[in-house]
């Protein structure tokens, strides 16, 4: 096996568990206030869009690509190589250490890409894991290795991570999701605070009208399913964000109509029986 046995043991425990834990606890894509303002944000979760079979296989394919890059790039570099002093450096220990270091760096960079809410704890866990890896490496191996391969690590990390960054950027440009747009709007809002703060007020009032989750009396259900409150009585949306919400709203309207038809179909059956 290529990897040092201690590396395999420590990999799951020390090097990679903490950043994932920190991301699971602290990650937020939009603030809690904004989550309440835009309940449409919860739809991808309800419709199982974020973790389904297609996503899983994309994840597997990404893992396969990364592992191929992580093996074959050091393999090609080590083939018939010699060190700066002519010494034999294509030995088993160096090869294992090169691959292991590239792996830890790639994994940390990947989770850094996925983290969208960087608290202090996230920073400490992610950079700390990489630093822990290097200190354990230093403690376990002799000093022959460290001067030799600084050239390769940035290459492997970049070669693995660049395609991911490309896909994410293109997806955000061409098919932005609602949460991406809200994040962009949030960021813009923080920059131009006095001018923009009025617009959210308008949106909040309309969502209060459709806030059926907090209704104290019945009757809003029909209002929602008829879609009346969602039609543009307000002036045509001018910003991209509102326009997309508007488009989403009409899509929701169609979905609600379909659900209402199904529901009324069932109740009709019941009355017949």
């Amino acid at each position: 096996t290529v990897y040092d046995q201690w590396f395999v043991t420590l990999f799951n425990i020390v090097y990679t568990s903490l950043p994932v834990l920190a991301m699971g606890i602290f990650d937020q894509d939009v603030s809690d206030q904004t989550s309440m303002d835009y309940p449409q944000l919860y739809e991808p979760g309800q419709l199982n869009l974020l973790f389904n079979k297609r996503r899983f296989f994309i994840c597997v394919a990404h893992g396969i690509y990364t592992s191929l890059a992580l093996f074959f790039i050091p393999y090609g570099s080590f083939y018939n190589v010699a060190g700066e002093d002519g010494q034999h450096i294509a030995d088993y220990q160096s090869f294992a250490v090169t691959m292991a270091t590239s792996l830890v760096i790639v994994v940390s960079v990947q989770i850094a890409l996925d983290t969208s809410y960087w608290t202090v704890v996230n920073h400490v866990f992610i950079w700390g894991s990489v630093a822990t890896y290097f200190s354990i490496l230093l403690a376990m191996h002799s000093n022959g290795i460290f001067g030799i391969f600084p050239r390769q690590f940035p290459f492997v990390a970049v070669a693995s991570v660049m395609p991911v960054v490309t896909f994410r950027f293109l997806r955000m440009c061409l098919y932005p999701s609602l949460s991406d747009q809200i994040r962009r709007w949030q960021k813009a809002q923080r920059k131009e605070r006095p001018i923009r703060s009025r617009k959210p007020q308008i949106r909040r009032s309309s969502s209060r009208r459709s806030g059926y989750a907090f209704a104290h009396q019945e009757g809003y259900g029909e209002l929602i399913t008829s879609g009346k409150n969602m039609r543009a009585k307000s002036p045509a949306p001018t910003s991209g964000l509102e326009k997309t919400l508007y488009n989403n709203a009409s899509w929701i309207e169609n979905l609600c109509k379909k659900t209402a038809d199904v529901v009324s179909g069932f109740s009709h059956d019941k009355t017949v029986k």
Binding site: A82, G86, Q87, Y92, Q152, F155, M162, F169, F214
Partner: protein, 353 residues
């Protein structure tokens, strides 16, 4: 917002920044302003580095000669035929003649390369006793169990050094002769056989056991050499700093290679008249053919090479950097086009309303 304003209950969570997830945080957004410059800068840096590595690798000169002795390939085939797959008789020697049309810039390094030799085989790779090799007197006569079947000799003596790696020590030797004038005599080129192993291996990891009455042979009394060796370990070299476990060839061999085709350093040529390189002329390499490789279909090569700042001749990394750099720049342009069109589309839609 219509929260019920009840009094603070017993199970209500604390209203601190940590528990209510209000910690101050940085929220990066993968926007064009970050991604596009990143891709272009990375692409340019990689292309620069790739060009540097590629040209540096191309500038390295290398001479190699396969002296396995397959039939019809020079006079080493006689040595190989004599052995018939088992170890050839000791001191069978053959020669390689070559000539250099111009100066081979130095310092020049002499390597031997083996192919189809799996030093990374798991069972082979663990067959060693590092405690014995570090000179511990207690471990010298009690080799570890991983060394089996090279742990105790047929007569019951412990083997020092034990294990399959030590047993398969490469024992060919080379000498280089230079003929300055055509038809003249050959002069030996001095080969520097010191410091070919890693510093830490030679000084820290491998130590001889403590001398007994000032003699290394007595320190190894009661042990046997590995079955394939012609000489015991304390007679590997007349130099007392290079014999026993700290013999440089032995230490280089014990550092197992990662891939089945590997080369190991044999000597450096950097002394006397040859410190600037090998001048033009005719050369002869005398090879003492001891190591059998035909049993496993391997090949033996001898290689003369010089070195640059990035190591030996290896164009792979240079080409890989160039490819990835150009892909980065290409993708950067694609994303730039997509971004500009998306911006225009967004502005147009806004204008239409």
């Amino acid at each position: 917002m219509t929260w019920s304003a009840s009094a603070r209950g017993a199970h209500q969570p604390d209203n601190t920044a940590f528990t209510q997830q209000r910690l101050p945080a940085w929220q990066p957004l993968l926007s064009a302003g970050i991604t596009l410059p990143l891709f272009f800068c990375a692409g340019l840096a990689f292309i620069g580095l790739g060009l540097g590595l590629f040209y540096s690798s191309n500038g390295i000169k290398e001479l190699e000669y396969d002296y396995t002795g397959n039939p019809g390939t020079g006079n080493c085939s006689l040595c190989a035929a004599e052995g018939q797959g088992r170890a050839p008789p000791p001191n069978c020697s053959c020669a390689w003649y070559f000539s250099l049309p111009e100066l081979f810039p130095g310092p020049v390094y002499l390597y031997y390369e083996l192919s189809n030799f799996y030093q990374n085989n798991r069972r082979y790779g663990v067959s060693r006793d590092d405690a014995q090799l570090s000179g511990l007197a207690s471990a010298l006569r009690h080799p570890a169990n991983e060394c089996a079947p090279y742990q105790y000799s047929a007569t019951g003596l412990p083997i020092a050094p034990c294990g399959a790696i030590a047993n398969s020590l490469f024992n060919d030797s080379f000498s280089l002769w230079h003929q300055r004038q055509p038809g003249g005599s050959y002069v030996e080129v001095p080969l520097d056989r010191t410091a070919i192993a890693w510093w830490t291996d030679y000084h820290v990891k491998f130590r001889n056991p403590p001398l007994v009455n000032g003699s290394l042979a007595l320190a190894f009394r009661g042990t046997a050499p590995p079955p394939n060796w012609h000489r015991p370990v304390y007679e590997l070299s007349p130099d007392p700093n290079n014999t026993g476990f700290i013999n440089q060839d032995f230490v280089v061999w014990m550092r197992t290679a990662a891939l089945p085709t590997f080369r190991k350093l044999y000597a450096r040529i950097r002394q006397g008249n040859y410190s600037a390189g090998l001048p033009r002329g005719a050369y002869r390499v005398n090879i003492t053919y001891n190591y059998p490789v035909s049993a496993f279909g391997g090949h033996k090569l001898i290689i003369l090479s010089n070195i640059s700042w990035m190591g030996g001749k290896n164009p792979f990394l240079g080409i890989a950097y160039l490819v990835v750099g150009s892909l980065c720049i290409l993708m950067g342009f694609v994303m730039l086009v997509v971004y500009i069109r998306y911006q225009d589309q967004d502005d147009d839609d806004n204008d239409d309303e």
